[in-house]
Subunit: 258 residues, 2 copies
């Protein structure tokens, strides 16, 4: 049911689902690389560099040089590279969308990352170019949708996953803000339905306090990846990585035990 | 949202939800009381004596004498007294339903128990008599429904909770067997809906491997009690009590953390 995410022709963490992803939110090279060292020690399956937090995002050379040092410290842990827009919950940055696309192309080419995140509501031509940059360098494309205001209806949610596939994404990601537990259940149902209908791996979560449930047991419903805190959170409701791993282990034993 | 279960005018475990209930399935007084001692050391909030496992169920005097010794060993932990019928997943017993009602009356009167379970699909007159025996001795009545074959539709599930309230139960319990994760989500949705519509505390769970999710996270959706294994399980999908407490603690912190 839950399709593992593959990079370079191989499933991450030998196909375990969900893999645990720790965000990196450092604002300059030194604090970012210190964060990487701290986080890597906690054993995440993958790192997400949230480059919208990075002060030098406008300087592709510094981004790539920092990415190279990150690669060394990460010691084999795959890296997902993400600029989140302010529309979808990210930090304000000093460059425009066109410059981001150019920077994405340079970073893909640099060989320092394994996956790259692009919002599916971006300009279609920009998505196409990011996809081409990614494909050319064997980088996987995560097409994502974030709603920090509310949780859309079931059909809309399902369509967001399928839209990522239609647009040529290698992975579909949907993150929403629930107002009540009904919203959390609907996000899980939409993930389950989309995992049956679609063909690419999915990532989904409801954010905030009550949404944290979906971070812990969404792996059963088709979500291949869950975000957990290594050093600092990047979105509300993220659980510390040690607690996440504890719960995932207990859930796996309980479910497998029948 | 989740109403705590009260006995003798006070919420069990100071109103914590869900409380963790450990089943007791010993077949004779000695092994049963050894089981109680073993289980009590693990700190459950409540014990359920599954008397259908008890070989001497037909001898009310032995049942009550054993109940008195159990009371001492339980050292203040409340006791739920349950004969589960074979129709709803229980063990075959040597006496008929009428004798069970008489035995229930004697046990209520003995002061050795705090809650008693009666299946809501029992004969209406028998339910009425069990309710009267319970009320007369300040014992709370759990009216229960178990389906080991499948998970009914949403409206049927909601109605099972509300039926328990209509029949004069103090607590409504619904346990079902899911065939897929859609069934697990529906059980949680029904619990959530019933907790908004009804007025009495609820207990709900989906059984089996995939159902174990609902045992761990159902407390958020209105279920006031979750069964966990102290020594031996009484139904499929029950998680060991230590793991249950670990998950509940992590969930509570994550949800409260917002």
């Amino acid at each position: 049911m839950t399709r593992p995410i593959e990079i370079h022709g191989k499933a991450i963490a030998n196909g375990k689902t969900p893999i645990v992803c720790t965000p990196l939110v450092g604002r300059d090279p030194e604090s970012l690389l210190a964060e990487v060292a701290k986080v890597v020690a906690k054993g995440p399956d993958i790192l997400e560099w949230r480059v919208d937090y990075f002060r030098d995002i406008g300087d592709a050379e510094t981004v790539i040089a920092t990415g190279k040092r990150m690669r060394q410290i990460a010691n084999g842990i795959p890296i997902l590279f993400t600029r989140r827009s302010t529309r979808e919950g990210g930090e304000p940055i000093s460059i425009g969308d066109e410059e981001v696309v150019a920077m994405y192309a340079a970073v893909c080419k640099s060989g320092t990352i394994d996956l790259i995140d692009c919002e599916m509501d971006s300009d279609r031509d920009q998505i196409r170019r990011v996809r081409e940059s990614a494909r050319a360098s064997d980088v996987k494309l995560v097409l994502s949708y974030h709603n920090f205001s509310y949780t859309p209806g079931l059909e809309v949610l399902k369509d967001r996953f399928l839209e990522a596939e239609r647009l040529g994404g290698d992975v579909a990601k949907v993150a929403v803000m629930p107002r009540d537990l009904d919203d959390v259940l609907r996000l899980l149902q939409a993930t389950l339905d989309a995992s049956r209908k679609g063909r690419i791996p999915l990532i989904s979560m409801a954010m905030g306090g009550i949404g944290s449930l979906s971070r812990m047991f969404g792996g059963m419903f088709g979500s291949a990846l869950s975000f957990a805190v290594g050093d600092k959170p990047s979105a509300p409701g993220q659980v510390p990585i040690a607690e996440m791993n504890t719960v995932l282990g207990i859930v796996e034993r309980a479910v497998g035990g029948k």
